[in-house]
Amino acid sequence: MTIGHTLLGLLESGPRHGYDLKRAFDERFGHDRPLHYGQVYATMARLLKNGMVEVEGIEAGEGPDRKRYAITDAGITDVEQWLAQPEKPEPYLQSALYTKVVVALLTGRSAQHILDTQRSEHLRLMRELTRRKAGGDLSDQLICDHALFHLEADMRWLELTAARIDQLAEELTR
C-alpha cells in the first residue's frame, strides 16, 4: 500500500510524530489530496501491528499525536522491497471512450464529434497542467509532466482513431 510505504520511507531519516509525518507527506506528495489525520493514525497502527515501526517514546499530554514512531529493521526491508518492485504497467484501455465511439457508430451518430469533444477536453486539462507547471517548482513540474505525457498518449489514440473511423464504421456494419 503506497501511503504506508511512503510514510515508512519518510521515517527512515529519523523518528517522527504522527503530525510531523502528515506534514512531511503533504508537503511532498499531497498537492491534491492531503492526508487525513485518521488515515495517518490508522496506517501507523497497522504498521505498528506488523512490526514495521515501533513507538520510540510517548510525550506527556493528550491525544494520539504524542507517539513518536521509529522504523524497525523489518520496516526498512519492506521499503526496500517496495522500491525494488516495478509498478504494474496499466495499459489503461480507453474502454469508456471506445464504447462511446462504437455506440455512436452503431446508432448513426457522429463518432468524430465524440473524439473532437474529447480532444478539446484533454487539451483543456493539458493547458491547465502546463500553466501549473510554469508556476511550480521542480517537483510540481515532474508531477505535471507525468500527467501530461499520459494525456498526450491518449491524444495519439484519439488522433489515430479519428483517422480510422470510417474503417471502423465499415467493420461494425459488415
Binding site: L105, S110, A111, Q112, L123, A134, L148, A163
Partner: protein, 244 residues
Amino acid sequence: MNPMTPTAPSAQGAHPGGNGAPLLSAAGLHKTYGATPALAGADFEIRGGEIVAVMGPSGSGKSTLLHCLAGIVSPDAGTVHYQGLELSALSDARRSALRRSDFGFVFQFGQLVPELTCLENVALPLRLAGTRRKDAEARAAEWLERLEVADIATKRPGEVSGGQGQRAAIARALAPRPRVVFADEPTGALDSLNGERAMQLLTAAARDTGAAVVLVTHEVRVAAYSDREVVVRDGRATTPAAAL
C-alpha cells in the same frame, strides 16, 4: 454548434461576441498547388496578445494557412485582414514592409543566416528596420540573455546546438517587438526538454511584449501552451465527410 464534424479546414474563430475586431483574420481561403488543393475555405482569427495553436494532420494545410496569414503566399480566393488592411490589396513592397515591422517568424530550422554570428542574426531585423548597429546589437544581446543563450553571441549558427540556434531564432523573431509571431513547428527539431523550455521562453516573451502567436504544431504538449486551438483537417477536401 453543429454536432457534425466540421471537416473543411475551417478554423473555428472563437470568441463569439468578443471585444472588438480581431487583430488578424482570414475568411474563405482557397489555395491550390497544381492539382493539389492545400486550403479549401479556411477561416481564422486571432486577437492581440492571443496564442492560438493550429493543429491537424500532416498535409492538412497548416503551413499554407500560416503563409497566407503572414502574406508570404497569396491565396487563390478569400481574404486576409490585418488591423483592417486587406493584405492582398497592398503592394508587394508594402506587404514586405509590414512583415518586417509587425510580424516575427520562427520556423523548424534553417532560418539563421549562416555567415552571421548569432548576435548579428538577432540584430538583423532591427538593423533592417533602421536601428543603429550599436543599439541593435545591445538589444540583441539582451534578447539572447533572456533566451538563456548569452554565451552563443559570437558563434555562428553552424557552431551551436539545435536548441541554442532555435533560441536565437526566437530572440530574432521577438526582438523587433512584432504584433504577431508566426511559429511553424518551432520545436520540431528539439528534444522534449529543449522543446519545453523553448516554448516556455517563447510564450513568456510573447505575453510580456503583448505579441499574438500563431503556433502551428502537431505536438499536443506544445499546443498546450496556447490559449485555444484550431484544427485544420483534410485541407484538401472541399466537401465535408459524410455525416455519420
